[in-house]
């Protein structure tokens, strides 16, 4: 069981599922009947990436709480890795979202609530990065980073609600696809892509987390050798 969940195994699972998912998305699922047409295919990447980004930030949130409770630095490393991967996926969300926006609405950027929320999440977690870089003491850096990771993760859904529901009356809210139900053949490909992307995220987090732990051990060994 342990071997099946190791980082290399997760990478293999993820790549199999993502390849199968993308083949299904292009050859098995029908071309979208509504106005989206062929450009709807990006949905099979875009939405799973967005979910993966959110889950990665969630990992950082849980790790932050665990760190504040236990003061064990391994949680700090997990939180740090979670934010890093979440940030990477958020940038991909915006890149795919902009491509979609260009195809669907004819513009590269629209102040669409979901896109805006991810943009703000990028700024929030970039600030997390800056915060880590300006604190020298190890424990203090971990504590501040944890506090900020908690606050930031709580803020993201509130930002989404604010961007989604408040501007009503001042300017229209653009509604993306995914509101209605999904056809069976679309749902299968979508589910496979979703699981594949989440596994890919888990694989990267796991690998990076292990690298961080090894790095810490090397530092400890160097210190104990007097170097």
């Amino acid at each position: 069981m342990k071997k099946l969940l190791s980082a290399p195994a997760l990478f293999i699972w993820a790549s199999v599922l993502l390849i199968v998912g993308i083949l299904l998305a292009f050859w098995y699922s029908p071309i979208d009947a509504s106005s989206m047409g062929f450009s709807q295919k990006i949905f099979y990447y875009h939405v799973p990436i967005a979910s993966a980004a959110f889950v990665a930030f969630g990992v950082a949130f849980v790790a932050a709480i665990a760190y504040l409770r236990t003061q064990d630095l391994k949680w700090d490393r997990l939180g740090y890795v979670g934010v890093r991967i979440g940030l990477l996926f958020s940038i991909l969300v915006m890149a795919t979202g902009m491509i979609w926006g260009k195809a669907a609405w004819g513009v590269w950027w629209a102040w669409e609530p979901r896109l805006t929320t991810y943009l703000l999440a990028c700024f929030l977690y970039a600030a997390y990065w800056v915060l880590r870089s300006v604190v020298d003491e190890e424990d203090r850096r971990a504590t501040y980073a944890a506090v900020f990771a908690i606050i930031a993760f709580i803020d993201v859904p509130i930002t989404f609600f604010a961007t989604r529901f408040l501007p009503e009356g001042l300017h229209p809210v653009v509604v993306g696809p995914g509101g209605g139900g999904m056809e069976g053949s679309i749902a299968v490909s979508f589910a496979i892509c979703m699981v594949g992307m989440l596994l890919l995220m888990a694989a990267i987090i796991r690998r990076d987390y292990e690298i961080e732990l090894i790095r810490d051990r090397v530092t400890d060994l160097k210190t104990s050798l007097g170097g």
């Binding site: 929030l124 600030a127 020298d136 501040y144 803020d155 609600f161 604010a162 408040l166 501007p167």
Partner: protein, 228 residues
């Protein structure tokens, strides 16, 4: 000393210190008034342009930037004079310090608004909004509370870092975007069209929820933020 009297003592100390020197309040008020003049020239694209639908944004951008100045100042003094070390040595609950500091910053922000809003109305608002004063004050109070609570928490963190006042805007601004959206929308509606309960209720609820969530979050994490 009970928590309540500790709270009052810390708040009193902050107010007295500021009222003796007045350097923070005076600069913040001057900044707010100057910002209005700059906004006037920045947004008046042609003679007689209608700024009505910019008013909420102008007002809140000004308040948020003024608050950033004030927050940095209030903690820089604490840190430089080692006042905070003294406070931490006292047998005071850290959360009491947080609420007292938040209350202090809130008082300063309210003082600034008491000066700034009438001048702002004189400069920019043609409609008589005195009938909507109560909803306007509620919006002010709710948005101020959220900004001050989060601002106090993050200023506590940023003053202990190497970049100090440089860090605070980067941490605080993305977090208070929801407050900005709700407060700007509500304020603009009040200034431009008059407040109807239906148009304001969603924004007020968001502000209320934001305040509640972050007061609880700050209450839970301030112990860690302020350090040993």
């Amino acid at each position: 000393m009970s928590g309540w009297s500790q709270f009052k003592a810390i708040l009193r100390k902050d107010l007295i210190r500021e009222l003796r020197t007045r350097d923070m309040l005076v600069s913040m008020i001057l900044f707010v008034l100057l910002a209005m003049i700059i906004f006037h020239y920045a947004f008046t694209v042609k003679e007689g342009a209608d700024l009505t639908y910019f008013t909420g944004g102008m007002l809140w951008v000004t308040f948020i930037f003024a608050m950033l100045l004030g927050l940095n100042r209030s903690f820089a003094q604490e840190k430089d004079e080692h006042c905070l070390d003294g406070l931490l040595l006292c047998p005071v609950d850290r959360v009491t310090i947080f609420f007292a500091k938040t209350a202090g910053n809130l008082v300063f922000l309210l003082i600034i608004q008491a000066v700034a809003v009438p001048v702002f109305a004189l400069f920019f608002i043609e409609r008589n909004f005195l009938g909507d004063l109560l909803p306007f004050l509620i919006v002010l109070a709710l948005a101020d509370l959220g900004i001050c609570a989060l601002g106090t928490l993050l200023a506590t963190i940023s003053m202990n870092t190497r970049s100090r006042d440089l860090l605070l805007p980067i941490l605080l601004l993305p977090l208070i975007v929801p407050v900005l959206i709700a407060a700007t929308g509500a304020t603009t509606l009040i200034f431009a069209e008059g407040a109807s309960f239906g148009s304001l209720v969603a924004r007020l609820l968001l502000l209320l929820g934001f305040d509640a969530v972050f007061l609880v979050a700050a209450w839970g994490t301030y112990d860690f933020a302020i350090g040993e």
